[in-house]
């Protein structure tokens, strides 16, 4: 199952470090989420969605 975190982050011109700092995690955690190697908690998903100004569906829902 994939996600579109990287896609939306790049669209917003944010680096992994920018996003990580904005939500209070490490850059590695963002990398792991983007490469589907870590399933974040709902709290973290919401934090990412807020920073990227998108919905959870935009980030994680697959058609």
């Amino acid at each position: 199952m994939g996600n579109r975190v990287k896609e939306h982050r790049v669209e917003k011109n944010l680096t992994q470090t920018d996003l990580a700092e904005a939500i209070g995690v490490t850059r590695q955690t963002i990398g792991l989420i983007e490469s589907n190697k870590y399933n974040p908690s709902l709290k973290l998903c919401i934090a990412i969605a807020r920073v990227l100004c998108v919905t959870l569906n935009d980030l994680f829902w697959e058609e």
Binding site: G24, T29, Y38, P40, K43
Partner: protein, 155 residues
């Protein structure tokens, strides 16, 4: 959700926190296993004296009891008990299962005594059976009570 004192030793990053918790849990299981192996080896080779062996067994018991007591008190064992009728049904099941445990415990203890594997009196046997069954019954009752109360609050 930060409901454990151990969180003060954990990093803020969610991924790191989760991984380190796994590592701590793995270390705990390995430690218990290691102590168990040492106690077993000591029976044959006698590296430590008897008192040291009891200390090792006490450490195993204390660590295991800590996890068990935290689990009992957390109120998550009976996660589906919300209605009074469900509570009563679980209580009956609980009494049944602890009674079965008492019979099994007594059976094993009698077998060990009769075959002279372990030496103790019949009074000791009866006291051990009653004590272990009593403790289990009280622990399970507390667990059910706390689970029921927690589930009622959440529904």
């Amino acid at each position: 959700m930060k409901e454990s004192w151990v969180t003060m030793f954990l990093p803020n990053d969610e991924y790191k926190e989760r991984r380190i918790l796994y590592f701590i849990a793995e270390a705990f299981v390995l430690f218990i296993g290691f102590l168990g192996v040492v106690v077993l080896l000591n029976r044959f080779s006698g590296i430590f004296n008897t008192e040291s062996s009891y200390i090792l067994l006490s450490v195993i018991a204390i660590l295991s009891l800590y996890v068990w007591i935290r689990y009992i008190v957390s109120g998550m064992e009976y996660a589906n008990v919300v209605e009074k009728s469900e509570y009563k049904m679980e209580l009956r099941k609980l009494i049944g299962s602890t009674s079965k445990f008492a019979v099994l415990f007594a059976g094993v203890a009698i077998a060990l005594k009769v075959t002279d594997v372990v030496v103790y009196s019949w009074v000791d046997l009866l006291a051990m059976t009653l004590l272990s069954n009593g403790l289990l019954l009280v622990a399970q009752f507390i667990s059910l009570q706390r689970s029921f109360r927690k589930n009622r609050e959440l529904s």
